[in-house]
């Protein structure tokens, strides 16, 4: 069990965790509506790393959280104007979201913000779970191609609401990990935002061990052990993989579920329909050169449905796809054995150019 050893004097409520080894420092706190976990070696780097991660997460929250009334993106949404001058940070976050949309042929689309709100996902998720079910509304999705971003100048169709959920947490992990590693003279760091993981610097021997799982509900340890199973079995409790470089992200429909209009809804919206996606995959994990790309690819794969494995293979992105019936499929060299090394591509697959390629329509 994680043992709270002491609270660090830096940052916003980091809690030190004891994972049974003193060779790394581990800390966790709530952030961006989820949990942030930071692991650093040598452990004496941890305090400095946490201070840097605090700064990066704080910036991202102030820039891109649509659940904060005082965030920059909320101010954009409230404004009656359609043209805006953004901070560099928000401009980058939107640029990454638009690039991901182009790359995936629109399967992830930042203009689904209005549709998510109409489905009831208009608050921090903890508040939704505690609130009453509401009737569904409908909202049109203007489409990512209607958004114009030129440097820091944004032009947004009137009434549009952006949701950067498919890339923002990954971008936050990337920013935090790279900034932390730049401040270290030796060692490495892992940053996880709600399971979207980026590593930087030197990895531990054999890579960072990461548990990939899609447990829909908390389980008892005994139950977890009994459900732990070999790849390809019907009820995968999870798989430990090792990540030496790059990033790993998981998207799933098994949680962030709520009831609305008498239906069970989840947060991955198909931009083609404006409704929660109904594809065959309940969870997809992807390794990529950076976490924003891994995040976008995993979400796009859930939306892409049957086309997802072929698209991921074409992109050369190692992936683990869990079907609704629990069957597991491995793509592009994702290790089938427990404790295997996930070799994330060294270069980005998400093109920076004007046109994407091979989108899994």
């Amino acid at each position: 069990m994680d043992t709270v050893t002491r609270r660090l004097p830096v940052g916003l409520g980091w809690t030190l965790l004891d994972i049974g080894t003193a060779t790394v420092g581990v800390a966790e706190r709530d952030a961006l509506g989820t949990s942030a976990r930071v692991v650093a070696w040598p452990p004496y780097n941890l305090a400095r790393v946490l201070a840097i991660v605090d700064i990066e997460l704080g910036r991202l929250d102030e820039q891109a959280s649509r659940f904060r009334a005082d965030s920059e993106i909320s101010a954009v949404h409230r404004s009656a104007r359609t043209a805006h001058i953004l901070s560099e940070g928000l401009a980058e976050a939107i640029a990454v979201a638009l690039t991901a949309a182009r790359w995936t042929g629109g399967l992830v689309d930042p203009t689904v913000g209005g549709a998510l709100s109409a489905l009831g996902y208009d608050r921090d998720f903890a508040a939704i779970r505690q609130g009453r079910a509401r009737p569904l509304a409908s909202a049109c999705i203007p489409g990512w191609e209607s958004v114009r971003l030129d440097g820091r100048r944004l032009r947004l169709p009137a009434g549009s609401r952006l949701d950067l959920g498919a890339t923002a947490k990954g971008l936050g992990s990337d920013r935090a990990a790279s900034a932390a590693a730049a401040a270290m003279t030796v060692g490495g760091v892992l940053v996880s935002l709600g399971g979207d993981i980026a590593v930087a610097g030197e990895s531990p021997s054999g890579g960072w061990p990461v548990l990939v799982t899609d447990e829909p509900e908390p389980l008892s340890p005994a139950d977890a052990r009994s459900r732990r199973s070999a790849p390809g079995s019907q009820r995968p409790a999870g798989q430990v993989v090792r990540l030496a470089a790059g990033a790993l992200a998981t998207s799933s429909i098994t949680c962030r579920q709520w009831r609305g209009g008498g239906q069970l809804l989840h947060h991955i919206v198909d931009p083609r329909t404006g409704r929660p996606t109904e594809g065959p995959w309940r969870t997809v994990s992807v390794a990529a050169a950076n976490c924003a790309e891994a995040n976008a690819a995993s979400t796009a794969a859930v939306v892409a449905g049957d086309q997802a494995p072929a698209w991921l293979a074409e992109q050369g992105l190692p992936a683990r796809l869990v079907a609704r019936d629990g069957t597991v499929r491995f793509v592009s060299g994702w290790p089938e054995a427990d404790d295997g090394l996930v070799e994330a591509p060294a270069t980005c697959r998400m093109p920076a150019g004007p046109r994407g390629r091979g989108a899994p329509r």
């Binding site: 069990m1 994972i19 892992l190 709600g194 399971g195 340890p221 430990v240």
Partner: protein, 119 residues
């Protein structure tokens, strides 16, 4: 760089170059200026020598951490050339979970599942 040079054979004043705005001093005044410069240079040199000596002494007792080696020649398996050894981890340090479940493995292999409701 003033009148002295103009008076030497073979030296030609550059076109457009004006006389210095300050009044010309005597030879003794120039000599005094040179002495001041030399004194200042001596103090600067002394300060530099003292600084280098102090830094050398400090780093002799506090060696700076070595930047991770990037060359295969200098990489030590399992560790950096002169830094701490790479840890070898046998428990997951993080969880990638679409369900937002954080799974933590403790010192005795006990797993704790924490619902965070994200992703």
């Amino acid at each position: 760089m003033d009148k002295d040079f103009d008076e030497r054979p073979g030296w030609v004043r550059l076109p457009g170059r004006e006389d210095p705005p300050y009044p010309r001093g005597t030879a003794s005044a120039r000599a005094g200026g040179v002495r001041r410069v030399r004194r200042a240079s001596n103090w600067t040199a002394a300060a530099l020598i003292a600084g280098v000596a102090a830094a050398t002494g400090y780093f002799a007792h506090h060696p700076p951490p070595v930047t991770p080696a990037t060359s295969a020649v200098t990489t030590v398996p399992g560790g950096t050339a002169a830094g701490p050894h790479k840890p070898s981890l046998n428990v997951p340090v993080a969880t990638s979970s679409g369900s937002g479940v954080t799974v933590s493995t403790g010192p005795h292999g006990v797993k704790t599942y924490t619902y965070r409701g994200d992703n």
